[in-house]
């Protein structure tokens, strides 16, 4: 079995597609000119840059000039949030209030916390048990000082998809700018910015079988921000630094492939992830799905398993050649369990035992079957070692009917 078929950590990053590698290679040492140079080698670089931007603009349904290449998803997000805040507040003298929500990626949360230290006010909206924000609460949170709303498209841990169109309508109605972190959405969801109605959108290549270290920010025409990086004036003076042509070419190729394969791949992965969810919930007692049952990314399976600790399970899986990830405190640098799982209102116990499997292009039915076959054995092994035995009854609101049966919960 191909080892990529048991790599269930595609939300962390994806392998680079062969076609993408092929497209990038000439731009390292054959076509290497600086797009800013006034000679034929420079022109070749400029052409590659322009045509990549053009390709991506078609996928996003925007103007090429509305795309700014950056060094990562994190950079795009920093640029969007700090750049808008500084421009709106310091340059235009507008308010200092930003709205976001509790399950955002640290790239958003830490940036907002940084701005709080600078004196900005940030509202962190709650989410419901499935990870969705409330549109009513969003509307209520908007006030005259609000300058920006930043809500992610799809969550990286639990895959929950936020109602982006509805959010952008609320923002438009209230004349507030709207940024979305679409890093996890790009492989599977619609990226048409006109349809979505967003003002800013952050993307990166490393989740769409493109290279790491490249991102982009869609910045709608007419919206201005204060740049983070000053220098030679590349990217419409908004992001200086010699353009990274090989990575930009790879990013464009990756998005192009993703946009072609989207429908079929979503269907295939939905089937496989449902098989996995079913397989786990029917065989492992005291386990439940985190996130939304239907409004979720087709490749995301996040499950809490009571009485075990995620890192231990992760290592047992790794020993069998299976890669996954966990929301347990033990694998986080801060030693706190997943803020996303906790934001769903779940107790700490459920966060420590949460496991994320994110499927991808290389996932096969055989890979899923191997996981379904091995995982219950690993859980049993760790449960036997564990002195903890939480009552299934206390968690019955989360358990599926099938799982209640094997967990011994009476109706």
């Amino acid at each position: 079995m191909d080892k990529k078929s048991t790599y269930f950590d595609n939300a962390a990053t994806t392998p680079v597609d062969k076609e993408v590698v092929k497209a990038m290679l000439p731009y390292f040492n054959q076509i290497y000119g600086n797009p800013g140079s006034m000679h034929s080698e420079g022109l070749k670089g400029k052409q590659a840059l322009d045509s990549s931007r053009e390709t991506i603009s078609k996928i996003l349904n925007c103007e090429p000039e509305e795309i700014i290449f950056t060094g990562s998803g994190t950079e795009s997000i920093n640029m969007a949030i700090k750049g808008i805040a500084h421009h709106q507040n310091k340059k235009l003298g507008k308010g200092n209030h930003i709205i976001t929500q509790k399950t955002e990626h640290p790239a958003v949360l830490e940036t907002c916390e940084f701005l709080e230290k600078e004196g900005y006010e940030v509202t962190y909206l709650d989410v419901d048990r499935y990870g969705l924000i409330s549109l009513d609460e969003l509307e209520k949170a908007i006030k005259s000082e609000t300058i920006l709303v930043s809500i992610m498209y799809a969550n990286n841990e639990i895959g929950t998809i936020q109602p982006i169109k509805e959010i952008s309508e609320i923002c438009k109605k209230n004349k507030v700018l709207f940024h979305t972190d679409a890093c996890q959405a790009s492989e599977y969801l619609n990226l048409d910015v006109k349809n979505l109605g967003v003002d800013l959108m952050s993307l990166n290549a490393s989740k769409v079988y493109g290279p790491k270290g490249i991102g982009l920010l869609f910045l709608r025409k007419g919206v201005t921000l204060t740049p983070l990086i000053h220098g030679g004036g590349q990217e419409r003076r908004l992001r200086s630094g010699t353009e990274n042509i090989p990575l930009i070419v790879g990013f464009a190729k990756a998005l192009e492939i993703a946009s072609k394969d989207k429908g079929l791949e979503c269907e295939r992965l939905t089937k496989l992830s449902n098989k996995l969810i079913d397989g786990i919930l029917k065989t492992i007692p005291k386990a439940f799905l985190n996130g939304h049952p239907t409004k979720r990314l087709p490749n995301n399976v996040n499950i809490s398993i009571l009485d075990i600790e995620g890192e231990a399970a992760l290592l047992y899986l790794d020993k069998e050649g299976i890669c996954a990830s966990t929301g347990s405190a033990c694998t986080s640098k801060t030693l706190d369990p997943s803020h996303v799982i906790l934001a769903l209102g779940l107790p700490y116990e459920a966060a420590h035992g949460s496991m994320r499997f994110t499927l991808g292009k290389n996932t096969t039915k055989e890979g899923i079957e191997k996981l379904i076959n091995l995982f219950p054995k690993i859980v049993k092994r760790l449960r036997d070692l564990s002195p903890v035995n939480l009552k299934a009854e206390d968690f019955k609101e989360y358990l599926s009917e099938d799982n209640k049966k094997i967990s011994g919960v009476n109706k």
């Binding site: 009485d307 600790e309 231990a312 047992y316 890669c323 116990e349 070692l385 564990s386 002195p387």
Partner: protein, 219 residues
């Protein structure tokens, strides 16, 4: 024994955090009780048992010891752990340390520090060190439990907590735990801990602590 596939080799080129000794103790732990029934059975004949941590904080450990007739040496040490590889590996190593070479003297076992376990494991990744600090605490609890069960209260050793009952060596932590387990009054707490039964002078302080912890956890 099952064949070992090296974690390192699986994550191509990238070193995993754990060294081979930790991995060995994690994948093939020593002296653990293999399920709830085994734990129950063993508990009947154990000299002492200690439990620390909670599932909410991500690590929980239960440790049982059997002490020789003279009350000098630890002859057996069994455990169950909920936690990460570092927690499981270090409990396993600790259980080996206190039982090897005919068993460790209780005085020496009481001196074991997390660093000693980490050293025997030839090091833990820095940010995983905190996961190994429960083992020695669980062991001390088990030893204290043995002292109490065998009428050797004078030998109870308390660390990182304040002794409230000077005769039975009951600490603020014991009272905190009793409250967490549902005790709401002095009588409830006394049923669980016997605090203030011999050392009556501590009762006002105990009552104050009970109010404090009830306020802290249930207020």
């Amino acid at each position: 024994m099952e064949t070992h596939v090296d974690v390192k080799a699986k994550v191509e080129g990238k070193k995993w955090f754990y060294n081979d000794i930790v991995k060995k103790h994690f994948f093939n732990p020593k002296n653990f009780l293999k399920d709830e029934a085994a734990a129950k059975e063993y508990g009947k004949t154990a000299s002492g048992v200690g439990q620390v941590g909670s599932p909410a904080c991500g690590d929980m450990m239960k440790m049982w010891i059997k002490v020789d007739k003279k009350g000098n040496k630890i002859k057996e040490c069994k455990w169950q752990t909920f936690g990460c590889a570092s927690a499981i590996g270090s409990t396993s190593m600790l259980s080996v340390m206190v039982t090897e070479k005919g068993g460790m003297k209780i005085e020496d076992a009481l001196k074991i520090k997390p660093q000693d376990i980490a050293n025997r494991l030839k090091g833990l990744p820095q940010r995983k060190f905190h996961c190994s600090v429960l083992g020695d605490k669980a062991l001390r609890e088990a030893i204290n439990n043995y002292f109490r069960k065998s009428g050797k209260e004078d030998r109870v050793v308390v660390q990182g907590a304040k002794i409230i009952d000077k005769i039975l060596k009951i600490t603020d932590k014991d009272i905190e735990e009793a409250v967490l387990e549902g005790a709401k009054t002095l009588e409830d707490v006394q049923k669980k801990t016997k605090v203030g039964i011999k050392d009556k002078s501590c009762i006002p302080e105990v009552e104050q602590l009970i109010r404090f912890y009830i306020e802290k956890y249930f207020g």
